[in-house]
Symmetry: C2
Subunit: 412 residues, 2 copies
């Protein structure tokens, strides 16, 4: 398989505040073409380091892609350093200069003299049109090496890659096709999943299997390479099929959808409606349900009842029930679900009550204790969880287990 | 100033699914010691590339830190490659082996033979105790170069850096101290902020100024270097003071706090309480308010009224008002705020109604149109916004402008 290196250029990427995300997008695109990424480098606006990094990359990899450093200011050194490394003087291209000047004029602005720099292109290199900005991209063929310079802003870089670079790389991919598949799993931890599926995936080197724990759920990525898409898909089918079988209903998504998308899809298909009653999650469950476009078809209303008094007034949870069992209890979770379902007139009601911390925990009811209640026309039930982590993580996990309980109770 | 390179090792970091975040944390730590990061590299479990990357780094930088690749499996090649690059054979250290075996036994497990590898340390190198895992870190002094190998998992890497590495690097920092400060700005775009403050910060090369647009707000980072903390702070005071003056109340946070933290802090100080009524944000405003530990003191309840009927029943918004002006209108936003305030009995009520898209927009009321209403004891008012971006961004921006309107109306 052919391989590439990616170099991100810009001093802001060497601060604690910003990371290079372009390379993740580029990696997905390259992989889809059957090109693996073997090294990624971040350098600042620093001629010495950029020069050495470029030389190393061109020595080791047939495809080298840089992002950033093509702007109009002194800091933007990519063009200059590339000219030196490839021993090609920079030549001013009048047609590019005209286009840049025109882009400014069409917005009623005068081009600053600085921007002339952006019309400089190394000799015998090809400029790539930038539809969404002034900096053109550049492609240089150095013997059997391809050096591709792209602008840093994703909204300029991505369309430029898609339109101009992808067609040029496709022939390099040769005969290898890469296909990926993603499964998402709820209700199980990373090591639990691994124990179950390791006997399957360790028997295969193709596809490769990656297990990620994404804060709240286990994600399984499978990548197969083969001479054709169909053969790669067949390799995936073989392994993913076995994995799906041992994980059963714990797999909630087979094409990378989120849990809220799956719940929304199934609610729509069944014609169900849902209302939420939240305490410790403070709106997060409703927020996730309404993240999905079109959710107004099934999500009718939600109540965040932080104060006990609000649980009684807004949801009809009897004050005596709260007094008898405490606000964080199975009884109150079920009463919240029943109450919000009755008042909203929905098919399903879901209630969450718990202790997200950092304060408020006791020996009997520790931080992380969460009860989820669900109510339908013929069933009212609950589950108890002790969730790990800090406030943020507990709240996110609580919204996840609530969505998953709705899925398992009403939507399988 | 001294400088460092960071190398992240692991094939999973060369997939589209995962990025190296250790280097951001390490950069903050190194910067605090007065050490700049000049290059970051990600390589896979790939001996050839790792070897070359290590050689280049040691040639160019006095401090080289690697993360990852110290595990017990065949894939974990860091020790082996470092031994080759530094020409130091790997020596089995019996005391480390005992400790690893003991760590397994204390959890009732038997050590797998693989784990013996983790007790291999290059000759004359120093092993660093790993309190939270089995892989020890390694420090090698190569002439005037310091090569530091750390494990990949953040919960192992961070305490190891803090306990063992930081004290070793402190002398390298020499006489330079680095101090940073962060301002956050609401209600202004990136270029608006830049127009106002560029005349200030461009007059200084120290501190450096970085402007970031963080999806919903502008963040300003200032970094000053000086022989002492006090001098660095004085440099910051000079520039940041001028910037604060021109930006005025648009600066909502001076120490990096989030907008919801600032709103929560001011609500607490004033003894105010708040309730929310949300439509298009679907719970996100309440979620952000309750992200803050201790928010139950001021956040009493929230209602997500997606359906018009819920706006009337839950919030007392007159059906005629909705019929006359539409659900997305200034009148309804104010009525939602007034309604939720009255029913919850809080000091402040806030209402949001808008069109988050992708569907539901019209020529008259386009996607992105959002009204925020706020109600206090003596004032009811609203603001209209046309927010850019996709559904996610519009919802996030809507929650941001709502929090900011609460801040500006009641909390200055």
């Amino acid at each position: 398989m052919s391989h590439a290196e990616i170099i991100a250029i810009g001093s802001e990427l060497l601060t604690p505040f910003r990371s290079d995300t372009n390379s993740l997008w580029l990696t997905a695109e390259l992989n889809a073409l059957g090109i693996a990424v073997r090294r990624k480098t971040v350098v600042g606006d620093d001629e010495l380091f950029l020069e050495e990094t470029l030389r190393d990359a061109l020595r080791n990899s047939p495809v080298v892609i840089t992002t950033g450093g093509l702007g109009p200011t002194e800091d933007d050194i990519t063009r200059k350093v590339v000219a030196r490394v490839t021993q090609r003087p920079l030549v001013l291209q009048p047609d590019i200069l005209d286009r840049i000047r025109h882009q400014f004029e069409s917005r009623g602005l005068k081009m600053a003299p600085n921007n002339e720099r952006q019309a400089l292109v190394p000799r015998d290199a090809e400029a790539l049109h930038n539809e969404y900005g002034t900096a053109p991209g550049i492609v240089i063929a150095e013997g059997d090496r391809l050096l591709i310079l792209l602008p840093g802003p994703p909204r300029e870089m991505r369309p430029m890659f898609t339109t101009h670079v992808r067609p040029r790389l496709a022939p390099l991919a040769g005969s290898t096709r890469l296909r990926t598949r993603t499964l998402r799993v709820a209700g199980m931890g990373e090591s639990q999943v691994d124990d179950l599926i390791a006997p399957i995936y360790t028997r295969y080197t193709n596809p490769t299997t990656t297990i990620l724990f994404n804060n709240t759920e286990v994600e399984l990525h499978f990548t197969a390479s083969a001479p054709s898409d169909a053969e790669a898909e067949a390799l995936l089918d073989e392994v993913v099929g076995q994995v799906e079988q041992v994980l059963g209903v714990n797999v909630f998504s087979h094409c990378g959808e989120t849990l809220e998308q799956i719940v929304g899809l199934r609610l729509t298909l069944k014609g169900y409606t849902i209302a939420t009653a939240e305490s410790c999650t403070g709106g997060l469950l409703s927020k996730r349900l309404t993240d999905v476009p079109g959710s107004s078809k099934y999500f009718l209303e939600g109540v965040i009842a932080y104060a006990n008094e609000a649980k009684t007034r807004r949801l009809g949870v009897p004050a005596e029930l709260i007094a008898a069992h405490g606000a964080v209890s199975a009884e109150v979770a079920e009463a919240m679900a029943t109450g919000v379902k009755a008042r909203a007139g929905t098919t399903i009601g879901v209630g969450i009550t718990g202790i997200a911390g950092p304060d408020g925990g006791t020996d009997e009811k520790p931080v992380g204790l969460v009860y989820v209640g669900v109510a339908g026309d013929f069933i009212v039930t609950h589950r108890k969880f002790i969730l790990p982590g800090d406030r943020d993580r507990i709240r996110h996990l609580a919204s996840q287990v609530a969505l998953d309980l709705v899925r398992r109770t009403f939507l399988l």
